[in-house]
Amino acid sequence: MLRSEQKPFEEILGYLEGDKKIFLLGCDGCAHSSRTGGWPQVLAMKERLEGAGKKITGHTVIDFLCQKALVASRLRPLEDKVMEADSLLVLTCGVGVQATAAMVKRSVHPGCNTISLGGSRGEWRGSERCVECGDCLLHYTGGICPLTACSKGLRNGACGGASKGTCEVSPEKPCGWELIYERLKEVGRLDQLKQFVPPKQWNKQRPRPEILSTSLWALEQRDQSSEEGKG
């Protein structure tokens, strides 16, 4: 399970600056369990965004957003509403945001930070997409994670090492930043390349005790201590 927490509302509004019409997307899997992107949270977010003057062109919750093919099939009946929006706000983990971005030709913004619980790929198992850094950057890149797509995890742009679109580390791996460039070009947001991404808050990658206490990790600790108690 991927655990997430919602980003501060002000930060989300910052991402949506300049976008008037938003399509809202939640996930009935882990984000539902985390209480960050199930139906109640999507409806609450709809109300808050409308209160902030945004028009919500549509909203839905899919189980699971990390399943790329499922995202495409569930959004198909809602395509008009999705394409009417300036961008999508996705309330789920980093894998779900990237799966959405891979299927939709619109900017996607993450509404949540993904909290580390030791690595999970969700239902998109081909490669690691989200490192659960707790400080989601997918907004800057149009929905491709620079920490996993770039071998060096560079946040502000490419190094000088790519050749013919492949990474200096391994010729089988595409340059993550060239993918991000093509994606931003596709959604008409190349201006995002000029934004300076400040030094990353790696401390957020360590789950805080109050988050751990609500997670499966806490259950495991409890089980362990009761086992020990028996001995």
């Binding site: 013919k164 390349l193 300076f196």
Partner: protein, 292 residues
């Protein structure tokens, strides 16, 4: 001669670089320092170039300061986290180093310690931003410094790319690097005037000095090797032919380097010569290019 004065005066700047060796023997570097003294505006010291472990850039810079040269402290983001990077910047300042060049750094698997953990805690843009903070008297998190730094910060750019995405990214990042404090740029080695012209047509508007990179060719094999393995280096076939036909490869390599400098100098504000073992021949290249 100092790099900052050269760039600020608008004079065509000349820099070169030295690569420390693996070990404590500094004989070669000291000999090179002697030869370069008074002939160049700045001398870069590479930082664990190609991810191969060697004598440090900072210590070598300090030795060059003692010899009366103006070193450019190359700093990669690969090996140090933000605490070590900032501390080394403070150390560099007190040792008399005035220029820093920021680089991402080749990935460890390209070097000789392939099992090393890569760091990249800060990327190039974030390190430039940090240097700017420190020049203004604060560390990265805003704490006040007792005694600030006063670095001239530079960055690198690859003017020739093999994909549109890479070309556009390089320009976008150049602009971003300037916005966070880069005051000059050194480029990857250039062998084709028209390709560099295409780049400068877009980059000139940033109005930040660009020092074009020159690597003297030593042989046909070297040219072919770079074409195959070095990102952003494209030696055109006619130039490879010219090298192939030359009887005295060394003389030809130096002549070609001087010719390139002359053909490129109208397009930019300086030249950065990466001699890769030919450091002692740099004054000869400058003489042939009529820059000395």
């Amino acid at each position: 001669m100092a790099l900052r004065e050269a760039l600020e005066s608008g004079r065509f700047a000349v820099t070169t670089e030295v690569g420390p060796l693996k070990g404590t023997d500094t004989t070669e570097i000291m000999e090179v320092a002697e030869i370069l003294h008074g002939k160049v505006d700045g001398v870069n010291v590479t930082d664990q170039q190609s991810a191969v472990m060697r004598l440090g850039s900072l210590a070598t810079c300090a030795l060059l300061v003692q010899k009366g040269l103006d070193p450019v402290f190359q700093m990669t983001c690969r090996d140090r986290n933000r605490i070590a990077l900032q501390s080394d910047l403070l150390s560099a300042h007190v040792l008399g180093v005035k220029n820093v060049l920021v680089i991402s750094g080749d990935f460890p698997t390209l070097g000789d310690h392939i099992d090393a953990k890569d760091v990249y805690d800060l990327d190039s843009e974030q390190l430039l931003w940090t240097i700017n903070q420190m020049n203004n008297g604060h560390d990265l998190i805003g704490n006040e410094l007792k005694g600030k730094t006063s670095f001239l910060a530079g960055a690198v750019v690859k003017p020739v790319s093999d994909t549109d995405a890479s070309f556009e990214l390089q320009l976008a990042m150049m602009e971003k690097k300037i916005s966070v404090g880069a005051r000059f740029f050194q480029t990857q080695a250039v062998y084709e005037v028209s390709a560099f012209e295409r780049f400068m047509k877009r980059a000139a508007k940033f109005k930040v000095p660009v020092l074009v990179g020159i690597i003297p060719l030593k042989s046909v094999g070297m040219a072919r090797y770079m074409n195959k393995n070095v990102s952003g280096v494209f030696v055109p076939e006619p130039l490879i032919d010219e090298m192939g036909k030359a009887e005295d490869k060394t003389a030809k390599g130096l002549e070609v380097a001087a010719r390139l400098i002359n053909d490129l100098k109208g397009l930019c504000q300086g030249v950065h010569i990466m001699a890769i073992g030919w450091e002692k021949k740099v004054p000869e290249i400058l003489r042939l290019a009529k820059l000395a």
